[in-house]
Symmetry: C2
Subunit: 237 residues, 2 copies
Amino acid sequence: MTDPARAVVLLSGGLDSTTVLAIVRDQGFGAYALSFRYGQRHAAELDAAARIAGVLGAAEHLVLDLGLDAIGGSALTADIGVPKDRAPEAIASEIPITYVPARNTIFLAYGLAWAEVLGADDIFIGVNALDYSGYPDCRPDFIAAFEAVARLATRTGVEGTSRVSIQTPLIAMTKAEIIKTGRALGVDYGLTVSCYDPGGTGRACGECDACQLRLKGFAEAGLTDPIAYETVAAAGP
Amino acid sequence: MTDPARAVVLLSGGLDSTTVLAIVRDQGFGAYALSFRYGQRHAAELDAAARIAGVLGAAEHLVLDLGLDAIGGSALTADIGVPKDRAPEAIASEIPITYVPARNTIFLAYGLAWAEVLGADDIFIGVNALDYSGYPDCRPDFIAAFEAVARLATRTGVEGTSRVSIQTPLIAMTKAEIIKTGRALGVDYGLTVSCYDPGGTGRACGECDACQLRLKGFAEAGLTDPIAYETVAAAGP
């Protein structure tokens, strides 16, 4: 019996990356889950990532410290307030202050390093170009450009034999489709953490971009979000 | 009086990146020097980088922790011996075990993040495609591909107005030309550290790839390397 092919999966502990991990496991890969501690103001999502990696049978879960707080420039890494109750059209069109400079470039670079050491050709990332927060490094053009870098950057790149692929199974899905896909694979979304700014009770705020997109997704999927929220006002319509 | 344009300069404390910093300062940029602690077995080069940033008038020197030791796969980050006395043709053609997986991809990703926060368009890296150690991520194709990523990855990338440039002033120079360029700009190479495996005295080994390339460069430039070596045997021909 041979070992299954290996894949690196970027795992934040949120809804999207958890769905990706379930897809990767369903496809038969040995999943190597990679999470990052990058000066976030809350560690709840890393705790969630560890639980999810266990429940979904990841072969390994590696957490790397990035030190992005030393660079600053984002509400997620510096001492800047997280925006609340932004209008849906603003979420869709403006890059918010929660954007972390070059974040996915850095994440994918580490994913590439680990993939090379593991002998993995596939690097999975849960980016989404529909129901997303307007981040530049979630777009298909960006992913394609990074894949070109990845195929040149490593040992096999020199030999011209690199088969590295940046896999984005969620990129064309709505949030509702992502949730339905995960549910069909048995994902317990009660394990996942999406909120940028949970309250003192640890409950999701219900008002930040991430909460709004998540609640809208569950509503459109006709499903109930199993996690607890501080407010229910944002749960409509 | 307006502030000079800013540039991010990747600074290892070695001969090449020190020369790049001197070039950047000579071009009138405000230089933001970026160094990385990535599980190297020696900290001497980071001490050197700090001294060099001061002497060459960098506006700021930032040292980030990368945690690459958790990924492993290299003699520079894991517990693997550094090769000594490799033949020149092997240095030129084989990727050695000192290759760090995806290192320059990770370095440039952080450089991009800091450049975005600083409002800098120029990111300088001292890669060299002639007298180098055969690393895949030092080649012009790789640099061009990363520049394409950089122009898509940030806020200005979304707007289509990114002018980010990955600058490689040494890429077509021989090691001797690099040394002559630095000397003409007043660089004191006695401040720089190149050795992959310094001895207990802190002196360069004279036998690893980095020492061999450096000694060959000084010899071809007709100059004397001001640093001390453990051995002099490698200082020929």
